[in-house]
């Protein structure tokens, strides 16, 4: 993994450099015009957010039942990324919505459930920071509930009548939009994987430091 990091970062950098050109070339959406171009990054961030939530949930489940430190690192990194990428989703969405729907926010199923899931992972981070010893296991349980939200958030837009576009929009994208969209999705997922590994590295160092402190105290 370490060996791949640099080349993959270069690939990711190149993709992000190229993405704005692809997006500008893509056809305008008929009713929303320019503002619809936020979609390419907003939806990609959404997918990355789901990936982060799954990473955290899976790491938490493995950690709860095997106590492997690597699983805990994955859980923490995933949770932090869910919070960050979730912030991106929750800000770019309303910026688009203001023009497309006329309102910044709407308490429909998709927006509410996304906000709730974001809050759950923020709570996870608060617990890890201020919960004291043993909070790694407690937080793992929180992350599991957070991960359980993901399918709910995803399907909320199909089950309920919402302002937010349905998931069927993606398969039925115009040909001109498909290229840039999937390109952005890959770019973001790649970036997510890189950030995840970076954050896990930080966590590993922290764990080493803790062990070192314990060893130092032992003397």
């Amino acid at each position: 993994m370490k060996k791949l990091f640099v080349p993959l970062s270069v690939v990711s950098a190149a993709m992000f450099l190229y993405a704005p050109f692809m997006i500008l070339d893509a056809p305008y959406e008929s009713t929303m015009g320019l503002v619809q171009k936020i979609f390419y990054f907003h939806a990609s961030c959404g997918m990355a957010m789901f990936a982060a939530a799954f990473a955290s949930g899976i790491g938490s489940a493995v950690f709860l039942f095997t106590r492997k430190p690597a699983a805990d690192r994955l859980a923490v990194a995933g949770a932090e990324l869910t919070s960050i990428i979730g912030l991106l989703v929750l800000v770019t969405g309303p910026l688009w919505a203001r023009k497309a729907w006329g309102v910044w926010w709407q308490w429909d199923a998709r927006l509410t459930s996304t906000l709730v899931m974001w809050m759950i992972f923020n709570a996870y981070l608060l617990l890890r920071r201020y919960g004291g010893p043993g909070s790694d296991r407690l937080a793992a349980a929180v992350a599991l509930f957070g991960m359980a939200n993901v399918p709910f958030v995803y399907w909320s837009v199909n089950v309920w009548r919402t302002l937010h576009p349905k998931t069927s929009v993606i398969p039925s994208l115009q040909p001109g939009m498909r290229g840039p969209f999937w390109f952005c999705v890959v770019a973001f997922l790649l970036l997510f994987a890189l950030l995840l590994s970076l954050r896990m590295e930080l966590e590993k160092r922290r764990q080493q430091l803790d062990e070192l402190y314990l060893a130092a105290e032992g003397d």
Binding site: M119, G131, A141
Partner: protein, 220 residues
Amino acid sequence: MFEITRKDLLVEARTREILYTTIFFAVSCVLVFAFGFVKEGRPVQDAAAGILWIAIAFSGTLALGRAFERERHGETLRALLMAPIDRPALYLGKLFGILILLAAVEVLVVPLVALMFQASLFSHAGLMVGLLAAGTVGFAAVGTLFAAMLVRARSRDVMLPVLLYPITVPVIIAGVRGTAALLAPDADLPMARAWLSMLVFFDVVFVTLALWTFEPVMTE
């Protein structure tokens, strides 16, 4: 499992501390909201459903905190964990105790809300009870897990609401919308039933998750 519930209830019956304080808190909660949402000198009708569920959520959090605080003082939780009791049974026993407590609170708060907001909470009593029961189970299922988890954690008083509310928001929303559907002038029964089935779905997911994670989380 019921032994644990019985023990909890017996301890509570002696002082009734948690019961009385929770009821009082729930009533104050309803009053504060009723005075807060006032229009032309009378409580806003539409707020009844929301206020009811908020009162349940807040007083439930309080009750959970107090119930497990007592465990912490008596070190009984650790004793129970060391005893050869099935972990799921321990969890369910605690859950039933909390549910009985909350049911007692709701028996008082629901008529109060009906009275203050002139809300016809009893015209579809079956569905209403169903909604309340399902919602309370969902809330308490998550609450019992987290309250037990947090017994030995730092900042546990503030951590419980911080963790509990985001996770139980879907339950509260479903409860409020279902109740609101029932309270509407022409009660929307299919809608209420839909929300009720949503609540049951949440209950199944939450109780399953809680049972699954209770043991690994509570073990040192």
